[in-house]
């Protein structure tokens, strides 16, 4: 078996051909997976919406509004859900950069009167077994049916009403901050109807 000699031309040619083939095949796979990737992302969003909002019959993804905020890096997304043309609820994506390993992104569903219906975690990189417990029902439960105007979203350690997760106070703080951001946006841009 004779190896190609390491002449200048041979080296350039070999690397050129390899990068060309690699580039072309990556482009091809990217094209192939573009559709399913977007679909998987959308599906996740729709499933999250179904979980945090009361029953609705419109397509909140189509009615999504984006609001620029200086608090979040990206614009904040607001989803409005209707049932028989009446407001059924609003879902807001709140985020915090202060998680134990950076970004924590949650979707908070509000009832028309501004109380929290449910929360799901969209993105997180917290410690498995500690911070990831914020996905558990046991933790989320304490937010349901609470009105953030009277229910302080900070941890009890910081003078709020939220029981922090054992060993994951930082995660709990980030979660509370993200929920607070979602509520602030709701108050500012989609006034809840107090009755």
């Amino acid at each position: 078996m004779s190896k190609k000699k390491s002449t200048f031309l041979n080296m350039i040619l070999a690397l050129f051909v390899i990068t060309l083939v690699a580039g072309l095949s990556l482009g091809y796979v990217n094209d192939l997976t573009k559709g399913p990737k977007a679909k998987a992302k959308l599906e996740r969003k729709v499933n999250a919406l179904k979980e945090v909002l009361p029953t609705f019959d419109n397509n909140p993804v189509e009615d999504m509004r984006k609001i620029a905020s200086d608090k979040a890096k990206d614009s904040i997304e607001i989803y409005t859900a209707y049932l028989k043309d009446r407001l059924a609820g609003t879902a807001v994506i709140g985020s915090s950069e202060k998680g134990f390993s950076g970004l924590v992104k949650i979707m908070v569903g509000f009832k028309p009167n501004g109380t929290i219906k449910n929360i799901v975690v969209l993105e997180q990189k917290e410690t498995p077994g500690l911070g990831t417990k914020m996905k558990d029902d046991k933790f989320i439960k304490q937010f349901r049916d609470k009105d953030p105007s009277t229910y302080n979203l900070k941890t009890t350690k910081d003078g709020g009403d939220v029981d922090a997760l054992t060993g994951a106070t930082i995660t709990t703080r980030a979660f509370g901050e993200a929920a607070q951001m979602a509520y602030d946006v709701l108050i500012e841009h989609a006034k809840p109807q107090k009755n």
């Binding site: 078996m1 390491s6 399913p36 990189k125 500690l130």
Partner: protein, 201 residues
Amino acid sequence: MAEKLNQKQNFLKGIIKDNPVFVMLLGMCPTLGVTSSAFNGLGMGIATLFVLLMSNIVVSLIKSQIPAKVRIPAFIIIIASFVTIVEMVLEAYIPFLFEQLGIFIPLIVVNCLILGRAEAFASKNNLISSIIDALGMGIGFTIALTLLGAAREILGSGSIFDLRFVSEDANTMILFILPPGAFIALAYLTLAFNRISTKTS
């Protein structure tokens, strides 16, 4: 017959005699980083197995065309391409696993196990041997990561493959799902593995 026996040895060496994790201590970054649960270990192992298999095949096929002085960059391009393909496919079809493994998927590129096999084995051996080598090494890596993940999950979360066997409120040894626990668990598993394999051989 002798050929067949050799291939069997070639396959088994990756699992036992030259196990990439417990014996050669290669690919420590994903080994320590993702094994906080058995499922994560298994997912990472399979993703690595696929990349290793594909890169060994390609390297073995084009080995005579690569000038020796640029072989490392050539291998890296090949490996990085397959890793990117794995990343795109996972994101599109298994988003759950994609989320779990996160940053560790792109890091497969710098897993020294894969480059090590390309350099030490596939660039010197024929296609069939390289495939068997990749399968043996990949499966050895997967078994090791799953074992380590399982040990850490059992001790740290009181569950195995996400099935809890202790109550919600039980105090588990959280240390084991944190980074220091990875080192401790790996050390004891390596010890046990080498103890058993030296005794049996």
